[in-house]
Symmetry: C2
């Protein structure tokens, strides 16, 4: 196990009706709130009205940054920073999924940064101070509600980049599984794939002595596999929604990666797809993951895949190791298909003639991943296999 410094300070208020804590929690930080949210779904399902009524009851003033895109854009972040500065905002409250929370995080960090906000996306070291952030989660996927990261897209440059800072962890997040009852099947499926991909990024790594972390990763994978299917088929199943919601937070808050090397593989590749085509992040991940697995499977990674097959997919251990590994990859592929996620890049509208450009972009800062390092040609090969 590698050395690590653990810090997960976000408070989580989990369960039905937990929005009741909103007023008191916000007032710990001030009385001027910027609400950050996306489209109209939180208005249709009543969550927005509920939050507003609590703000009013508590004499909390609020401003709004609405229309945050599914892949949140730096242009929207800039608007949010302006509102914060004009009104001396005390705390930024995202209501929504990862997009709204990611946007809120860079708004909160950009508030204290004098230059253009894109600078702190490109170079997280420029972040020195961050406004308090909180969230009300409505989609189980990115884990942004409990982590320090944010991914922002710059459509001018076709770039989608991750940034992060310890102070970008939300002060608190409200996780009410009933808020995800209205998430449509395709978004539920993509969210589940996103959670699983976060787990994979921590799990497929060679620090073998991180036994505890690997067994916990398997616990979370089994949870996703069991409940992703149920939530797609039975959207108001509280047990399924609750297990997925808590898995989304634990998958990426550090619990699985502390003590291991962390260098992601599939996410950096997928980011290029959604930077160029604005596709659903989780669908892109689900399409690429099995092909990435097939591509990196060799003698040096075999044992990881065997462990995965036996412990997650319950494949009998009395078989050839490569057979176990290949079955596990096949089961992964079939699982994503069973959730209704497209299985090829062409199905989501990606053009073959862009693959090379995207592979170049994915590797412009060097090889991708550490489990098995991938150069431009490797990434292109994976894109082609997934096409």
């Amino acid at each position: 196990m590698l050395n690590f410094n653990y810090s997960i300070p976000t408070k989580i208020f989990f369960g039905k009706g937990q929005i009741k804590v909103l007023g008191n929690q916000l007032k710990l930080y001030g009385s001027k709130v910027l609400l950050v949210y996306g489209g109209g779904s939180i208005k249709r399902n009543g969550i927005f009205d509920k939050a507003i009524s609590i703000l009013k009851e508590n004499q909390i003033n609020y401003w709004e940054l609405s229309g945050v895109e599914p892949n949140p854009r730096i242009t929207t972040v800039r608007k949010g920073i302006e509102i914060c500065r004009e009104n001396s905002i005390d705390i930024v409250l995202a209501i929504g999924g990862g997009s709204s929370i990611d946007c809120a995080k860079v708004v909160a960090a950009g508030y204290y940064y004098e230059g253009d906000a894109w600078d702190i996306v490109v170079n997280p070291r420029k972040i020195k101070k961050v406004l308090p952030i909180a969230s009300i989660l409505t989609l189980s996927a990115t884990g942004s509600e409990m982590d320090v990261f944010s991914v922002i897209t710059n459509m001018d440059t076709n770039e989608k980049l991750g940034t992060g800072h310890p102070d970008m962890a939300p002060k608190f997040s409200i996780l009410d599984p009933t808020y995800t009852f209205t998430v449509p099947a395709n978004q539920t499926a993509a969210g589940t794939a996103d959670i699983m991909s976060h787990i994979f990024e921590a799990y497929f790594e060679k620090t073998k002595e991180a036994y505890l972390q690997n067994r916990m990763a398997e616990a979370l994978l089994k949870t996703c596999i069991k409940y992703g299917k149920i939530a797609v088929e039975d959207p108001e199943n509280y047990e399924a929604r609750a297990n997925l919601m808590w898995a989304s937070s634990l998958a990426i808050n550090g619990l699985l990666s502390y003590g291991k090397r962390s260098e992601w593989s599939v996410h950096p590749m997928e980011h290029e797809l959604s930077a160029f085509y604005d596709i659903t992040h989780g669908a892109g991940l689900a399409i690429l993951t099995p092909h990435w697995m097939e591509y990196v499977l060799d003698d040096s990674t075999l044992d990881n895949f065997v462990e995965y097959g036996i412990n997650v997919w319950e494949i009998g251990d009395n078989q050839d190791k490569y057979d176990i590994a290949k079955q596990a990859i096949q089961k992964t592929k079939e699982y994503f298909i069973s959730l209704g996620i497209p299985s090829t890049l062409r199905e989501v509208g990606i053009e073959e003639n862009k693959l090379e450009k995207m592979a170049q972009q994915a590797t412009r800062y060097g090889n991708v991943g550490n489990f098995k390092q991938l150069n431009t040609q490797d990434v292109l090969n994976i894109f082609k296999a997934a096409f």
Copy 2:
């Protein structure tokens, strides 16, 4: 899954050489430190000298509360409070295992309490404010390094009681697995049993829809089973010591119990054994646990034991459920014996004529446990079976 409010604010500095952070971390809270520790082991293995040299380098003044007992006593707590008050201590730093940390916690809470410190053990609600606490861990067992609890013994009344407060979570804990290399085999074994018992207390509970929590509990149990044995046989095995150390913290910091009902069974019974006889807590737990399991196994708890048998002990699922459950209990018993832990109460010096008195004490506030509620006669039956 039940509603929960998650908060685990303790920072963990994990790994070899992490004591290097001690000076800077302490200075965040002040310059006057009370060191709380037990016997001479930290002086023999150099940890004490290392800590002192860091304090001196950083111009941090320190006072000492030494001689904390294995089951820390309220008399020692009172001494610590006196030192804190006389010297306006800023932070209480425990160096040692759970005993020293538990003692430090009630010293820190007692500092602000005007009455006698035993009051805040008997009634945690009287705790209103707590001095900052930190720890350098030297034994993987109680999890006190990352939780809000403390157990203190009053030898005048033969009482051993738990108390707790959110502010009793250490601000930071330093977990260097090499500091446990010198822990003798019997203490390593008892520590492993203690960790496993914390996991069992969360795991054997009937909130079935807490699937995620139960799979994580199994991940931790497998870790203990694998590495407890290795650490007993090969005390300087870093991988084993690291996995056990991190498991000790995660077992009881709330991760496994958030979202479930939590009402402990075996701990309250064992506390009477060590209150009356000052035996090693973990050994008492290991002796009682299999007998408690046998006693509570019935149709209402069967499924939990079957899950335990299949997922933790890898017993084939193509058998009669009761057979699986009984095999799992037998394997638990055999495992503790394989660690060298005594398997009967008489072996650790407990007298048969005290069993009834201890059973009465264990149930003086009502039935024990919730998985299956145990009255005085039930507890006595378990004590007799374990005698």
